[in-house]
């Protein structure tokens, strides 16, 4: 499966399709850190939330790079489960690289306030990004051509999910659990004081369950749509 992951990443990077999401990441970082230094937890909380739609979009682009017939050839070569898993893992790997760059870059431009809780803030920031990656990959996968079949449906799924994550994630939302806890994480980190352990456990459980449901849905669609 690792050979298929490498092949898909190589196809995505060589084809140049990574450029639009890479530029979007730079814009997001510019907006977040352009205004001066902020405490690590606060900055990284916003960074994870702002990167969520970009990571989902990047996942869709990565999965859609391969022609449909090549995806079927991969399926014949490694079996349907490994073929689907390889795509998700390739997207997750790429998302982790982007998150790492997004966390390291502000240090180069003094975007992080080094006088306040740097260690715990960075640890919380790592957690926030790790909580954003699986749901973002799941949304991107559900918007991919293998599931939605057409460009219009794919973009609709992606945009709807990105908007709902913000709208249903606002404070006072009636159904916050319909979306992953991207906004809730950013809110929990929006304080120099670390959030209570119970909040963190809730966020991790929420993100895990939401991702599990979404990946199950993806697996179902991949089984039933060829």
């Amino acid at each position: 499966m690792s050979a298929l992951i490498r092949m898909r990443l190589a196809g995505f990077l060589r084809g140049g399709r990574i450029l639009p999401p890479a530029i979007a990441v730079l814009v997001v970082l510019g907006v977040i850190y352009g205004g001066g230094a902020s405490p690590a937890a606060v900055a990284y909380g916003y960074s994870a939330a702002a990167l969520f739609p970009v990571l989902a979009w990047q996942t869709k682009l990565l999965l859609d790079t391969e022609p449909d017939v090549q995806r079927r050839l991969a399926r014949v070569a490694v079996g349907p489960r490994s073929e689907a898993a390889a795509g998700l893992l390739a997207a997750a790997l790429l998302a982790l690289v982007v998150c790492t760059l997004a966390m390291v870059t502000p240090w180069l431009f003094h975007g992080i306030d080094t006088t306040k809780a740097v260690g715990s803030g960075t640890a919380l920031g790592v957690l926030a990004h790790l909580l954003a990656v699986p749901p973002a990959v799941a949304v991107g996968a559900l918007a991919s051509r293998a599931v939605t079949r057409g460009v219009r449906n794919g973009v609709a799924v992606l945009v709807t999910a990105a908007v709902l994550v913000v709208v249903l994630g606002l404070q006072g939302s009636i159904t916050p659990w319909l979306v992953p806890p991207v906004m809730a994480t950013a809110r929990a980190l929006n304080d120099v004081k670390a959030p209570p352990a119970a909040t963190l456990v809730l966020l991790v459980t929420w993100a895990t369950l939401w991702s599990a449901v979404s990946f199950t849905l993806y697996a179902h669609f991949r089984r039933t749509r060829s």
Binding site: A3, L4, R6, M7, A10, G11, R14, G15, E66, P67, D68, V69, Q70, R72, L73, A74, R75, V76, A77, V78, P80, R223, T224, S226
Partner: protein, 243 residues
Amino acid sequence: MRFEGLWFRYGRRADWTLQAVDASVEPGQTVVVLGRNGAGKSTLLQLAAGVLRPSRGAVRDRPPVVGWVPERFPADQPFTAGDYLHRMALVRGHDPSQADEWIERLLLADHTGTRLSDLSKGTAQKVGLAQALIARPGLLILDEPWEGLDAVARTLIPGIVAEVTAAGGMVLLSDHRGETARIPGAIHWQVADATLAPAPPPPAPARDEVVIEVAVRRADADEAVVRLRAQGHAVLGVREAGR
């Protein structure tokens, strides 16, 4: 390998592409699937390969290693032919050098550095053939394998088919051009009206010839006759010009 009560359609509201298909293929057997364009030959082959999932029924006892040559090779990929085949060998869990044998045999050595998107249709088709053969498939599925291939490459296919079946493998291929006369011992299936039925082998194409009268310089006559015969043409006679 058995097709058990196979039904397939491309969507819940679509018409059935295949209905109630029951058939089996024995090890060492070659099956030629005949039918007009759009009859469902490709669909049947993709169900056999496991690329498509039947709407009802199942394909049982499919050999573990399947090689599928799609009707059109997906050339829109940012790899060279050599890089692509080496990567596909790795994806299959083989050493990349395993691909080199097929690069040689399918006369692809001159094209390994060419990007897939720059290959001619026939060469791209040979890359598609090579990727299916790298893993020594127990089931080889060829969707219109002669399409776009040049004369030399065409002659390679019967040998490859014979190699797979001699090793106890099965071969399924579709053909609407009547090239299957080149594959001895194959059984034939006909796909029509969404159903599958055994079919007699298509008759060998009748000799369809025309007579061309050509004037040749007297001094070159002997050489022209020899050359025309060597090219497989029948020389019916030689006479004086103007009579």
